[in-house]
């Protein structure tokens, strides 16, 4: 089976800092996603990518950049961290084959901005 890894697991930043989160998958899936989850809330889509070098904005893209350098990796950059911001960033990849259309999630990166 495949796996999705996210680094770092925990990220502490300073206000105004640029912060980069990384995601790798070895499923060989085409589509990858970045979501943000705030405490006690659902997932909101930041960016997704349907193939290498493709980027599509989600509902929450303002304040973020993304990069799909190769099929297996998808990076997310917080362009200017907001003071007291605290959230979990979840990466997912998508299987769309053989009648199945499902997402597989990484373990998340927990962000705290001081």
């Amino acid at each position: 089976g495949g796996i999705i890894t996210q680094t770092p697991k925990f990220l502490i930043g300073q206000e105004g800092q640029k912060l980069t989160l990384k995601c790798q998958q070895n499923f060989n899936h085409d589509t990858m996603y970045w979501y943000r989850q705030d405490s006690g809330k659902g997932l909101r889509l930041i960016y997704y990518s349907i193939t290498e070098n493709d980027l599509q904005k989600g509902d929450l893209s303002e304040g973020y950049d993304a990069s799909r350098e190769k099929k297996s990796s998808f990076s997310l950059t917080v362009t200017s961290a907001q003071k007291n911001e605290m959230a979990v960033f979840l990466c997912a990849s998508r299987l769309n084959w053989g009648g199945k259309d499902t997402q597989y999630f990484g373990p998340g990166t927990r962000l705290l901005v001081l």
């Binding site: 589509t31 996603y33 979501y35 006690g40 809330k41 659902g42 997932l43 909101r44 889509l45 997704y48 349907i50 599509q56 989600g58 979990v88 979840l90 997912a92 998508r94 009648g99 199945k100 259309d101 499902t102 997402q103 597989y104 999630f105 373990p107 998340g108 927990r110």
Partner: protein
Amino acid sequence: GDQVEQSPSALSLHEGTGSALRCNFTTTMRAVQWFQQNSRGSLINLFYLASGTKENGRLKSTFNSKESYSTLHIRDAQLEDSGTYFCAAASNTGYQNFYFGKGTSLTVIP
């Protein structure tokens, strides 16, 4: 507005009992996925449905595209079932997007 309305937002069950979670959709969805988010924050795939009903152990899920809803039934609840349950629906348009409900926080009480 929200594409997916999930209810209840929170639920407490005694061990051995059961209940149902529900997601209503405001637009036509072609498929739904259910996840459990455990205490470590990991999202675990429970079901994928394009139609009909699937069962896995003590869990059963139904998706009715025409009537725009999906349900997740839990029976004989165990302590390890505690966590937050999310549905995610794939729209007929915006092909690559999944729309998430806000989750149901389930606490199983000994």
